[in-house]
Amino acid sequence: MPLATIVVPAFNVSATIAETLDSLQSQTLKDIEIVIIDDGSTDDTRDVVAPYLADKRIRYVSQANRGLAGARNRGIEEARSDIIGFCDADDLWHPDKMRRHVAHFDANPRLGLSYSGSLMIDNESNSLGISQTPRLKGVNAAHIMKRNPVGNGSAAVMRRAALMDIASHPHGTNRAYYFDETFRQSEDIECWLRFALITDWKIEGIRGNLTHYRVALDGLSANTERQLASWERVITKLRPLNPAFFEAHEPAARAYQLRYLARRAVSGSDGGQALSYLRAANQSSLEPLRSEPLKTVTTYLAAYALKYLKLNPLTLRNRATTS
């Protein structure tokens, strides 16, 4: 049995998956398996992957499309190790990532979810000079709901026993859901938050930006309304688990979410939309303003500049996203 499994959900990723697999093959921890879940790709993902299968550590599994959550769930089913990490087929891992996570788990028997920061890269895999450097220690459900320190879906590595504690068995299927397959967005945050709410496993990060997370800047700003709707669906779904917790933390979490969407709207050069998100954020809670005033104020300035001064959105975007 390998020490760790890396699940690679893949849907129409022929352009990027080779680079992803290169980064996983060169992990300094050699005793790993890599499980590619081809989630019904219609491009030549299969052909791109084929030469990699010479490496006996790499397995290729193909299934009818179930979405990202469904691909990850299948990957968990296929995994043979006690430690399971996820790397989307357009992201890259630092060579030391899995080795360091495994050491983290070995040193902490109560650790269920380990993560690290991420470096944002563009379509050409160049650094955007932006990183996610989240809080690493003392993380609880409130932190997850407000700031999502676990970050993106290629940052998390989980203990199998902990995954078993969040499995559910929806009616009409004999498959286990770890990630909720009814979500097409927000499936990450739904899983991390549920994990924090219903298990006693520790969530902790390790230092370093060990994931290179690919963002298409235009993609991020697209459809903020839909992002908000799916976030609200997460909250509605999970609220009954612990109503008192949500009463205490939901307004602030919503304010953070709205501010995030305002920044996405700024990236998309929609100053008016950004301002309306910011107003809604302030109505929900002033906590983001109190705890991160600079970030809130720069978002405001960027939104105002866009809307009233018609400043060059490109310059603004850079300023707004790097602050």
Binding site: P109, R110, N140, A161, D165, S168, H169, P170, H171, Y177, R194, L197, I198, T199, D200, K202, T236, K237, L238, R239, P240, L241, N242, P243, A244, F245
Partner: protein, 333 residues
């Protein structure tokens, strides 16, 4: 002479636990081997020296009574000390304990004072084992039991279930709020939801049920088998639950039982209960719909055999614990 056993409980002890102890004390099989008595202890203050070759704690463990538990150990060096963990579980910890490392330190320290720690469900046992809360040689699982005779005598439900029941304390632990919200999503005017119990969440739950005349609050039921008779299916949507005796009662009564897949309630699934298929109100609503459509059948074929098995298992497990403990004490003497 038969060895004597003293059960310790405090004022925080719930009705369910009291009934388990009643069941032990009224068991002929156990009484043939040991003499049992019951001792109430104050949650604060000093405890006296207790009689008994074995002292069984049904107390809640917390930092405040840790010194008293240490004194208990020190004052009874020759007695076998057993703790039955009636309350703590994984979900309890997840939902109620901000500092989990500190809490586990408390549990490890407290459990280390006892010769045996009894888990009331298999899932609680596996939680304690995987979190290394107690030495594996001290850990044992004795699934709780109460007298199911009256429940086993109830006529089983015929036809599709029309009346859902919730039985228990009106407290957020029991998740009745979730069941009320889900029930309200069902449109069938012939369905009923009966809620038996009292507790601090009474007002909140009544507010949630307001305007839906299908939902009724039946108050505290002194006769649980009568309450069980008046419903067609039992819902146990608890947020945490060490074992969930009420599910055993409903299974013995031949009722379909729907439980949240939480802690000790997963033991109930192995006994024939159905588990909720997801998280949240709408998932529960669709589960209720399926029960109302009659697609979920009660899984217990013979009610009396179920009740008998539960009793036999409980007695056998306790007798084994007694035998081993007293044989060991004799060997030491």
């Amino acid at each position: 002479m038969k060895p004597t056993i003293t059960h310790l409980l405090d004022d925080a002890t719930s009705g369910g636990v009291t009934r388990v102890i009643d069941f032990m004390q009224s068991s002929e099989a156990l009484n043939a081997k040991v003499d049992q008595n019951l001792q109430m202890v104050p949650a604060r203050g000093r405890w006296p020296q207790f009689e008994g070759d074995m002292i069984i704690s049904h107390l809640s463990v917390n930092w405040r009574n840790l010194p008293a538990l240490m004194a208990l150990r020190a004052m009874h060096p020759n007695a076998t000390l057993v703790h039955v963990e009636h309350s703590y579980t994984q979900r309890f910890t997840a939902l109620n304990v901000p500092n989990k490392d500190r809490f586990y330190t408390l549990l490890r320290t407290a459990y280390a004072l006892f010769d045996q720690v009894v888990c009331v469900s298999r899932s609680q046992g596996s939680w304690m084992a995987t979190r290394a809360l107690v030495d594996s040689t001290k850990l044992r699982i004795i699934r709780s039991a109460v007298d199911l005779t009256d429940f086993a005598k109830l006529p089983p439900v015929s036809g599709t279930p029309r009346c859902f029941g919730l039985l228990g304390r009106l407290h957020q632990q029991k998740g009745f709020d979730l069941a009320i919200a889900a029930f309200r999503q069902l449109s069938d005017p012939n369905l009923r939801l009966k809620i038996f119990g009292i507790g601090e969440d009474q007002k909140l739950l009544r507010r949630m049920a307001k305007g839906d005349s299908r939902i009724s609050f039946e108050g505290f039921s002194a006769n649980p088998s009568q309450a069980m008779q008046s419903i067609d299916a039992l819902l146990v949507p608890s947020r945490w639950e060490a074992y969930g005796l009420v599910a055993q009662e409903a299974l013995a009564a031949g009722r379909p039982v729907l439980v949240a897949p939480v802690d000790g309630l997963t033991d109930q699934v192995q006994d024939g209960a159905t588990q909720m298929t997801g998280i949240g109100v709408s998932a529960l609503a669709s589960d209720l719909e399926r029960i109302a459509n009659g697609t979920e059948k009660p899984a217990i074929a013979k009610q009396s055999a179920f009740a008998m098995n539960s009793k036999n298992r409980f007695e056998t497990d306790w007798l084994r614990l007694f035998d081993e403990a007293f044989a060991m004490a004799d060997a030491a003497a």
